[in-house]
Symmetry: C2
Subunit: 259 residues, 2 copies
């Protein structure tokens, strides 16, 4: 499986993806699922993918060929993000049909789902989900994040934290916690994590980095989050049946009085 | 859908379940999924169910009939929890066949899955999962919790917090947060929440309560958790590209120096 999340806040866009692919339990590999297409000052696009790796690579190969050959429609042509997403959706439908050899491999799931994010000069930034049928939906202020793959484990923290007004750096921290929670709870999603930040109107990547298991930055955030969660759990209200001595605040006060 | 979680710690057992059932989007009802069978001083059993409501009710009806009629095997007879779980597993298989009318309703999923927890005098407490095929697995010190239904949203917090050494009251708080996170992120899981605590060797229920949306206790824990999570997120380490002024600790120190 895979887990990718894209977040759109007022300050810009955050994209985070894991890198584990598995054809079966004994065929597990590492592949980047974040693909960046940057034309500084003109447009900045990031594509993340979940699902059949053959389908994804067929789409990426075709995107690059269309760019190289200056096809009538390619990643640099349409002036609107939605049209680029629809163009990719068309390639996705074609790639699935091609990989599936006209339905001759019914047992293999050839579907892929994609998240596209970025900005074109003169347009606001955008975050879009491209379904296997090629149809496209965009994020909105009420729905400021989109997920693909193993999305359930990492959803609660996004629902609680992410608003359009969240800062870009806080959104990136939340994306990392969402990925880390998923990785801890599901072996089909794995390190390293690819993280991309795009600031509104910059028309280039603000940050793009890979966080490995032993990256000091990843370790610091992961360990800090584990500690904070334990602290948070310890600060929840007591049950009515618990003795007052179980109340952590009263217990601390009592300890201080004894000193 | 449904979400139920059972936790086994050294001090005893915690069971928590939601109460939403839905046959379709426009057929949503409230049903208890926690069923308590207490024979004080002798044995104390709790059963939680997910899946087809007809199947579950067929099993419950049969369990009660076997008890009332003093059947050769009933909830008060076998001396081991595992045997009781296997007995319920047998009723579950029979109920599924009965509800399915011998396979004549292939479009309807008649499966149900159950969690059984409790203690019999002279035995240690136990927590067991009963699969639709009737087979049974028990929780263990390495796997101190079991879930049925919509289990993914509420799994990360359990993975981070629950150990065998966790106190019973802390485990109950964690179960409530796990339910609350699921309810916030998935409309098929809904309030009220049924919560049951069993202390080791008490052979009766320590606590059993229903938490409604406006229960002060549920509100207090839910609001406190939302606040704690925001605080926790704000305390995570800064990114290397963030200015020192963005560091909440340095910012606080700077504010104090200005005073």
């Amino acid at each position: 499986m895979t887990y990718c999340v894209g977040i759109q806040v007022d300050e810009g866009l955050v994209l985070a993806s894991d890198t584990r692919t598995s054809a079966s339990f004994d065929d597990v590999r590492t592949y980047a699922k974040t693909h960046r297409f940057v034309f500084p000052g003109e447009r900045c696009l990031v594509l993340m993918s979940a699902g059949n790796l053959g389908t994804t690579q067929a789409v990426l190969s075709r995107l690059q060929r269309d760019l190289d050959e200056g096809a009538a429609i390619n990643l640099r042509r349409p002036g609107r993000l939605f049209e680029i997403a629809e163009y990719i959706g068309g390639l996705l439908v074609a790639a699935q049909a091609q990989v599936n050899r006209g339905g001759r491999l019914p047992a293999v799931n050839v579907e892929a789902t994609m998240i596209m994010a970025g900005q074109i000069a003169g347009e606001p930034p955008g975050l879009l989900l491209i379904y296997p049928l090629g149809n496209v939906i965009a994020a909105s202020p009420e729905t400021p994040y989109l997920q693909i793959g193993e999305s359930k484990y990492g959803k609660p923290i996004l629902d609680r934290i992410i608003r359009s007004s969240t800062s870009l750096d806080d959104a990136a921290r939340c994306a990392l916690v969402s990925l880390d929670s998923t990785i801890r709870s599901n072996v089909s999603v794995g390190l390293p994590i690819d993280l991309t930040l795009i600031r509104r109107d910059a028309l280039e990547l603000a940050e793009s980095c890979r966080l490995e298991e032993h990256s000091p930055l990843y370790q610091a955030i992961r360990d800090s989050w584990a500690e904070q969660l334990n602290t948070a759990m310890g600060r929840l209200p007591r049950w009515p049946w618990e003795p007052p001595s179980a109340d952590p605040i009263r217990r601390r006060q009592a300890a201080q009085q004894q000193q």
